[in-house]
C-alpha cells in the first residue's frame, strides 16, 4: 500500500503544480501564482510521515522547478527546508490551529520569496526586488488566507477516507 503512495506522489505533485498554474491563469491571468504546492508541503510537514512527506516535498519542489522553469533545484531545496521546519514545528506546537497555519504559511511564503530574490541577486546577478515585492506580498497574503481552507479541506478528506483525522506514528507513539 505504501509503495502505491510513493508511485502516486509524483503524479499528485505534477497535478498540483499544473492545477496551480491553471488557476493562476484563470483568476489572475498568470500575474499572480497561487502556490498551492507550498501549502501542500506545509501540510505534509504537519500531517505526513517523515519519509513519505520528505519524498513528497522533494518531488513537488522538483516538479515545480521543472514546470515553473526556475533554477533547477531551487524549489526542491526550499521545499525540503519547509518540510523539515514544518515537521519539527508540528512536533513542538499544536499545528491544528487555523490561525497558526495561516501565519506559518504566510511566513514560509514570505521567506521563500525573499530567498528567491536573494538567490537571484547573489548567484545570478539579477535584481528581482524592483517591481516584484508588491506581487510577492500579494501572493504571500493570498497564500496565508488560502492555507487554512486547504487544511480544512484536507481534514475533511481525511475523515472521508479514514473515518477520522490522520495521526502519524510520531504522535501516536507507534513510529
Amino acid at each position: 500500500m505504501s509503495y502505491i503512495i510513493y508511485l502516486l506522489l509524483p503524479l499528485l505533485s505534477i497535478s498540483l503544480v499544473v492545477l496551480q498554474a491553471t488557476l493562476a491563469d484563470i483568476f489572475f491571468s498568470g500575474r499572480l501564482v497561487i502556490e498551492l504546492s507550498l501549502i501542500a508541503v506545509i501540510y505534509a510537514g504537519f500531517r505526513m510521515e517523515l519519509i513519505s512527506g520528505s519524498v513528497f516535498a522533494f518531488i513537488t519542489g522538483f516538479v515545480f522547478d521543472c514546470i515553473a522553469g526556475s533554477v533547477m533545484g531551487l524549489f526542491t531545496f526550499f521545499y525540503s527546508i519547509v518540510f523539515i521546519c514544518s515537521f519539527i514545528f508540528s512536533l513542538i506546537i499544536d499545528s491544528s490551529r487555523l490561525l497558526f497555519i495561516s501565519l506559518y504559511s504566510f511566513c514560509c511564503a514570505l521567506t521563500e520569496k525573499m530567498l528567491v530574490i536573494l538567490f537571484y541577486k547573489l548567484f545570478l546577478g539579477f535584481d528581482a526586488s524592483t517591481g516584484l515585492p508588491f506581487v510577492f506580498l500579494s501572493e504571500t497574503l493570498l497564500l496565508g488566507l488560502l492555507a487554512p481552507a486547504f487544511f480544512y479541506l484536507m481534514r475533511r478528506l481525511e475523515i472521508i477516507f479514514y473515518g477520522k483525522p490522520l495521526q502519524r506514528a510520531e504522535h501516536t507513539g507507534s513510529g
Binding site: 509524483p10 503524479l11 505534477i14 497535478s15 503544480v17 499544473v18 492545477l19 498554474a21 491553471t22 491563469d25 484563470i26 517523515l50 519519509i51 520528505s54 519524498v55 522533494f58 519542489g61 522538483f62 516538479v63 522547478d65 521543472c66 514546470i67 533554477v71 533547477m72 533545484g73 531551487l74 526542491t76 531545496f77 525540503s80 527546508i81 523539515i84 512536533l91 538567490f119 548567484f123 545570478l124 506514528a169 510520531e170 507513539g173 513510529g175
Partner: protein, 273 residues
Amino acid sequence: MIFLKNYKSLAFVVFLFLVALIMLSYSAKYGQGGGVFKNIVLETAAPLQSVLNSSVTTVSDAWKRYVFLVGLEEENKKLNKFIGYLQSELITYREGYLDAQRLGEILALKKSVDYPSVAARVIAKDQAALSKTILIDKGSAHGLKKNMPVLVPSGLAGRLIDVSWHVSKALLLIDENSNVDAMLQRTRAQGIASGAGYRGCVLKYITRDQSVAEGDVVISSGMGGVFPKGLLIGAVSQVEKPHTDLFLNIRIAPFVDFSKLEEVIVLITEDGK
C-alpha cells in the same frame, strides 16, 4: 523524540536535502540540471496541462461568448432603435419626394391650362356612401368661387359647391349629383356625364345612331359655362344599345383616381359665382 530514534528516516531526509542542494549548486553553476527526470516531468505534465487548458479555454470561450452575446443584445437594441429612426427618416424623405413629384405635376398642369388657377391641398374626404366630396384648403380669400372646376393632372375631378374663406368643398365627378356637359372626342357627339358612384360615370343622351366604341375619350364640351372645353373626363368602358330606348347606355371610367386625391388645382373661370 521518537523520529530521531529512527536514524534511517533521518538519513533519508538528509540525503534528499543534500541531493536538492547539489542540484541547486550544479544548476546555479552550469545553468542546467534535472536531465532525464526533468524531461519525464515535462512529458507527464504536458497532457494534463493540455486537458486543463482546453477545459479552461472552453469555459473561457463560453464566458466570452456569453459576454459577447450580452453586448450583442445591447447592440441589437441600439441598432433596432436606429433602424426605426432611419425608417421614419426614409418615410419622411420618400413622402417629400412623392410630394415634390405630385406638386411638379400640379405645377405643370397649372402652366398647361389657359386659365389662372389656384393650387390646393385636399384636407378631407367625405366618407359618406352617397356623397362624393372633398375639402380643400383654399377658399374665397384665395379667389375661389362656387362652380369653379377642380382639376388634377390626370383630368377633371369635379367642381366647387361650397366656398368658405379658407376652405372649400368640391363635388367629385363620380357623385350622383354631378353633371358635366361632355362630348366624345372622336365623334364630337355631345351628352351629359353624370356621376354613378363606385361605378364611375355614365354618359347620357347619346342617341342610338351615334358611333360609340369602348375606349373612346370623353372630354368636357364647354357648354353650360361651368367647365372649359377640352378637360379630360374619362374613357368609355361599356356601351349598351337598348331595344326600347332612344339613347345609348354608356359607362365611363374616369381618368382620375378619386381615392388618391392629395393636391388639386382650381381654375379661376369667369363663370364662377
